[in-house]
Amino acid sequence: MGIGELDREAHVPEGRPRGTAGSPRTLAEALRARGDDGLAALLRARPDLLGPVPNDLTQLATRAGTRASVVRALERLDRFSLQVAQALAVAPDPAPYPVLLGLFTGGRPGSAVEEALPRAVALLREQALVWGGDDRLRLVRTARELLSPSPQHPSPTGLGPTVAEATAGMSPGRLQEIVAAAGLPSTHDPVSAVAALTSLFTDRERMAALLDTAPPEALAVLDRLVWGPPYGEVTAKPAPPVGWLRDRGLLLPVSPRTMVLPREVALHLRGGRAHRAPEPRAPELSVAREYRPAVADGAAAGQAYAALATVEELLKSWEHGGPPVLRAGGLSVRDLKRTAAALDVPEPVAAFWLELAYGAGLLASDGEADERYAPTPAYDDWLDLPPAERWVRLAAAWLAATRTPGLAGGQDAKGRTLSVLGPDLDRAAAPEVRRRVLGLLAALPPGAAPDPETLLARLRWERPTRGGSAADRAPAAPGAPAAAPPETAAGAWASDSRPAPASSPAPSSPVDLRERLARWALQDAELLGITGRGALSTAARALLNLPLDAPAEPSAEGGGVEPEVAEERAAELLEPLLPEAVDHVLLQADLTAVAPGPLLRPLADALAVLADVESKGGATVYRFTPGSVRRALDTGQAASDLHAFLAAHSRTPVPQPLAYLIDDVARRHGHLRIGAASAYVRCDDDALLGEILADRRSAPLRLRRLAPTVLAAQTDPSSLLDGLRAMGYAPAAESAEGDVLVARAAAHRTPVRTPPAPVPDGPPPPDATLLAAAVRAIRAGDRAATAVRKEPAPAAATPGGLPRTSPAETLATVQAAAMTGSAVWIGYVNAEGAASQRVIAPVRVEGGFVTGYDHTADEVRTYPLHRITGVAELADDEV
């Protein structure tokens, strides 16, 4: 196999004649032939190619062919495009379009596939995974390696290796026997024997004739293997049907105990189809219920209001001494439970609210010695916003957040429990999945709620391979002999649509992370009021920058409005739906007050001190108790202030029992005065002091009568206060000057905090400006690199001298060589400074080293790149 036959995707076509317009010779050439729009589309789809901006198209093509980038690109393909790529990987290289189509239809016309295939091929081309004209479709080499069946990574097509691959290590004698048994003319040359066998298997009629002679048991064996996995265990002395198949090469050995069904045979048995179930069409979303848009919006607004109330309640409860931060970061399970109980929600929901507040920058650790969580100053600013804008702030933070509260409570790879607000909860895929889920919801008519299962099925179709599982595996050389081929199809690429019970993923495996993220996204959206009764609300559509009153295109990216404008529009749409703040309460004789709607904030704050909240929701029910009235008096208000306050804000006359309650508590409030300096109790009523002294419960306070109206205590003032209150008195603390101390703790705030930045996976999608600039830069670099120079490059041409190339060029050339497996000529300076020239076939380029087979030294060696003075390609016929 000569070098010239290898596809030279990233080859620098320096000094060579350009390929004809119809068939580019390399990927770089194919890219060069594209318009700027085409390049921009590639860079938009694969933004990782942009970091840093490649110098020229050669470098871009090289980078597009690196393993990491190809894996990334493959992971982002929809199921059908991936199936197309998989089919190309088992097709001859290059494959004409009709052959590819044949692999799906098996010769029979299948309209859906015929319709969808051009789109899929175009997509693969756009993403530089496939290049070449329709007559010569080529899958880039890395993708081919990743997708073609190997014992380590069985292909989801269920196809095995070709006859040529499977017989690679077979003895010529054995091959002779097979050829003879298959009824072919004998030949001593193994290459022609393999060719003969291959042509027999691919010849429809002769193959059919051969199978007609097969015993039925043998056909049953083939039936079991035909749709994969193609490997089967055999004993040392196989049963007659297996023996029959083995003798004719219909099964080929891969190890003493394992046989494989060659690809050609399987394709014949399948009628030429690569996939059992091609899925050319995305599954439709089915609408579970359709509400009037106003109903859905109403429900969403109700939930949005509940979200605001919950976040506010949560943060308010953490104002005075929030829970401590765990040493490893995060909130303890006990505190989460407590918070959930306080909010009256299940723990996962409480975790969601916590992370939401945290993600919106309203909540953070205070960073003090005993670290505690507390609201941030941003919380105060947030509180001052109108409700609709408050909601928009939360929703926007949620849309971009990479933190996933749903993972809390689980364990990370090291077995440590993941805690809410703690580290390691960021999942880069979250925002993208979330956007996609909402995008799919937006594709439905307003007010329509989808069946979540169909939505998840659609997501599975759009992104069938998930997580970085393939990239994590050690790259295995294609065609390397396998020690033990796996029996089940549980490989990284084996995510076929059929449910495979054997390969059900572990709960924490990345395989189902996207699905879990999608489920969470649906739940969170409902909690937050993004959706109402399952349908996307109009305000959310505005926030997502989508058309308001019509289904959006499924792939709509949002319509050009700046995010700030979108947020403003969402707030405007939401605002009229939120309950209007009321400025009054209804007072009732059973000592309750009902606020028939959300109260204006100052009123709510004042009332929250004066009364205990009994029930929340659209309205708030307050109950007045002696304790709550005393609390209000403790904040420095007089009874007359309270009366005036109630009279001013009540729609109904103040009931007499309530007025009485306030007077009664006020009468006793501050009746007792307690000094801070020396802890004393003084009271004008000496009988009362006598009463206290006589009370046995006062013993722990160690009171002593100083004067008829003054008691001194040995305890500190606060215990004294508590003690006396416990005994049923209403003492007031007093300052050294004799004034009543106002007991009102300042609300606790963290220092100024920035909200945690989302942690996206990879660079952000490039915008149009960046794309245009990048394309311009690449074009310019490319023009410089490919400009036809008058003089030939002197370094490479001088025989005996060291080749000289720029480091970037060196790297690109060596990488290209490593990919194509071709040999290059390098100049090398060793540690002692001695220069030498070598011919090496690079195998791997990484970490500043190139490892390759050194033809000069006849062994595998590793050279540091910085010692390579330059590199030149060899003429095609040199090795």
């Binding site: 109403g298 429900a299 969403a300 607004a301 109700g302 939930q303 209001y305 509940a306 009256d344 409902e526 109402g532 009764r533 739906l577 309950p579 209804l586 009732q588 004789a589 059973d590 000592l591 309750t592 009902v594 028939p596 709607g597 029930s615 929340k616 929701g617 659209g618 309205a619 029910v621 109904t652 009931p655 007499q656 029992p657 009485y660 009664d664 006793r668 009988a687 009362l688 006598g690 009463e691 206290i692 006589a694 009370d695 046995r696 049923g728």
Partner: protein, 546 residues
């Protein structure tokens, strides 16, 4: 969107009563929501699983409930709440109790996993018999009540289609000569009869006895009536003789003194729960005849052994009557599951508005302890504290002042502590009825009071219930059973019978200020306050001032 209803996240519903749609809304939500509080402006209803299941049993489905909420709600109803309602209501009817021609009482399911789930419960296992097929299991007939109660607790209420036995027929008619059942009584009887069994809640003095009589006239069968005490038993008997076709001979009294079993038998809880040598000999009464109807008067007082026995009587029609279904032991749910769901409920103020009970002026009089009393109070043992403050001498002077103020009207002075009552009796020169007073003497005194021969009667808690004293217009409560809400309501009930001259009733509760008495009083008043009785507070000094 400007409805009268506000749905709270804790599943309470707030109904603004002054709203024009309030009445329509009340009718829409009444089938599934319990009225919890009914003060003057905003009534509070609560949506409970039990209420939702009762609504299902009465033929309402989740869609109706959701529609009612959505239609009348002022603000959007949280989706989670609607889902929860649908889910809860969906649990009813998955299991049914019915009569099988071959296997007797059987439990059938339409949802097999549910049956599997409940059969796995340890509490259900002893109640069921053999598995008949995949969807059916036999139930011991005697455990009909138990299993219903248990399934309710497990959250899978069974629909009881096994029906009722008719019992031994006995002709009973209402003798509506010159009077007739009031509309709400008629509704209550119909509600009960339609539902088969259940509880009717009516304010004191609103004529619960007549509801019982109406139910008997519908059943036309032998009836067992359970009442709180002998005096009450006699009143039932008199009322039945007067209002129905029954004659004195047809009505038996089964009490400590008499053991008559007649077609209509009135028994006291006390005699039923008398225990001799570890057994309850009188519980046999339930089986002594083929009763067609069992009436539980003052069902909120149902003692535990009767509870137990009632569970075994599920095949008979049961009617519970009460004014105040609040139990400080929290066993309201047991009453509902054993007697039956609430079939009729009327807010007190509504009956008052219709003129069937007298309007009442409730006043809390606050008295100050004297200095020496305060000292003594502070040093008293915890368990003695209430007694001490409740019996302060100042209360006596206030009571005297009140009696003087209402001289000429029929006045009841009610208290907890015998010493206090005796002292009051001596000072007011009024007879005292207490536990040791014989039934004969009690009846004589009550009769004298009714006839106006006595103006002031001092009574202990023996007169809390079921004592019909139509002409009492003023009640003065000097002490009570700590914080009992229903006692307060029952005591107010003593003066709520509509007066011949239609004038107002007065209820005074005398409370010692700044003591535990005041805390208890606040708790006691909650039920009535929630029913819309606004207490006025006055200082003792105002009353004592000349």
């Amino acid at each position: 969107m400007n409805g009268p209803l506000i749905v709270q996240s804790d599943k309470t519903l707030l109904l603004e009563v002054d709203h024009e749609l309030a009445e329509a809304c009340r009718r829409a939500i009444a089938p599934f929501a319990e009225l919890e509080r009914a003060p003057e402006h905003i009534h509070t209803y609560r949506v409970t699983p039990l209420g939702l299941w009762n609504a299902r049993a009465a033929g309402h489905d989740a869609e109706q409930v959701v529609d009612a909420l959505v239609e009348y709600s002022r603000y959007p109803v949280p989706h989670a709440l609607l889902v929860d309602i649908a889910e809860t209501m969906g649990r009813y009817g998955r299991l049914t109790l019915s009569k099988h021609p071959a296997h007797g009482l059987v439990l059938t399911t339409t949802d097999r996993p549910v049956l599997e789930e409940i059969l796995r419960s340890k509490r259900v296992q002893p109640l069921v018999g053999a598995r008949i097929d995949a969807d059916t299991v036999a139930v011991h007939p005697s455990e009909r009540g138990q299993i219903k109660q248990t399934l309710l607790k497990l959250g899978w209420p069974a629909e009881d289609l096994a029906g009722y036995v008719d019992g031994e027929a006995h002709p009973i008619e209402l003798a509506e000569d010159g009077w007739s059942l009031r509309p709400y009584q008629q509704h209550a009887v119909e509600g009960f009869w339609h539902g088969g069994s259940g509880v009717v809640v009516l304010p004191c003095g609103a004529g619960k006895t007549l509801v019982g009589a109406g139910a008997m006239a519908r059943a036309k069968a032998t009836t067992l009536i359970l009442v709180t005490n002998t005096v009450s038993a006699r009143q039932w008997k008199n009322e039945l003789v007067r209002r129905t076709s029954l004659t004195e001979d047809e009505i038996g009294e089964y009490s400590g003194t008499k053991k008559e079993i007649r077609p209509v038998t009135i028994a006291t809880y006390q005699v039923l729960t008398t225990r001799r040598k570890g057994v309850y000999p009188h519980l046999e009464l339930f089986d002594s005849r083929d009763w067609g109807l069992i009436v539980y008067d003052e069902v909120h007082l149902l003692p535990a052994p009767v509870f137990k026995f009632t569970a075994d009587l599920q095949a008979r029609r049961r009617l519970g009557l009460t004014a105040t279904l609040v139990r400080e032991d929290g066993k309201e749910a047991d009453v509902f599951s054993l007697i039956g769901p609430k079939r009729f409920d009327a807010p007190w103020k509504e009956i008052e508005a219709q003129g069937y009970i007298a309007p009442a002026d409730c006043v809390e009089v606050r008295v100050n302890l004297t200095d020496s009393e305060r000292l003594a109070y502070a040093t008293a043992e915890a368990e003695e504290k209430y007694r001490f403050c409740a019996t302060t001498a100042t209360k006596r002077r206030v009571t005297e002042a009140l009696v003087e103020k209402f001289a000429g009207q029929q006045i009841l002075v009610i208290g907890q502590y015998i010493d206090q009552l005796d002292e009051l009796g001596a000072h007011l020169d009024a007879p005292v009825i207490k536990g040791e007073t014989s039934n004969k003497e009690r009846e004589r005194l009550f009769d004298a009071f009714r006839n106006g021969e006595i103006n002031v009667l001092v009574v202990s808690k023996v007169a809390n219930f079921s004592i019909d004293l139509p002409e009492a217009t003023v009640a003065i409560q000097v002490s009570g059973t700590f914080g009992s809400r229903q006692e307060e309501a029952q005591r107010l009930g003593r003066v709520l019978r509509p007066k011949a001259d239609g004038h107002q009733a007065h209820f005074y509760s005398v409370v010692a200020r700044d003591t535990i008495d005041q805390d208890f009083a606040a708790h006691r008043q909650r039920f009535l306050a929630e029913q819309g009785y606004a207490y006025r507070i006055v200082d003792a000094d105002e009353l004592l001032a000349p």
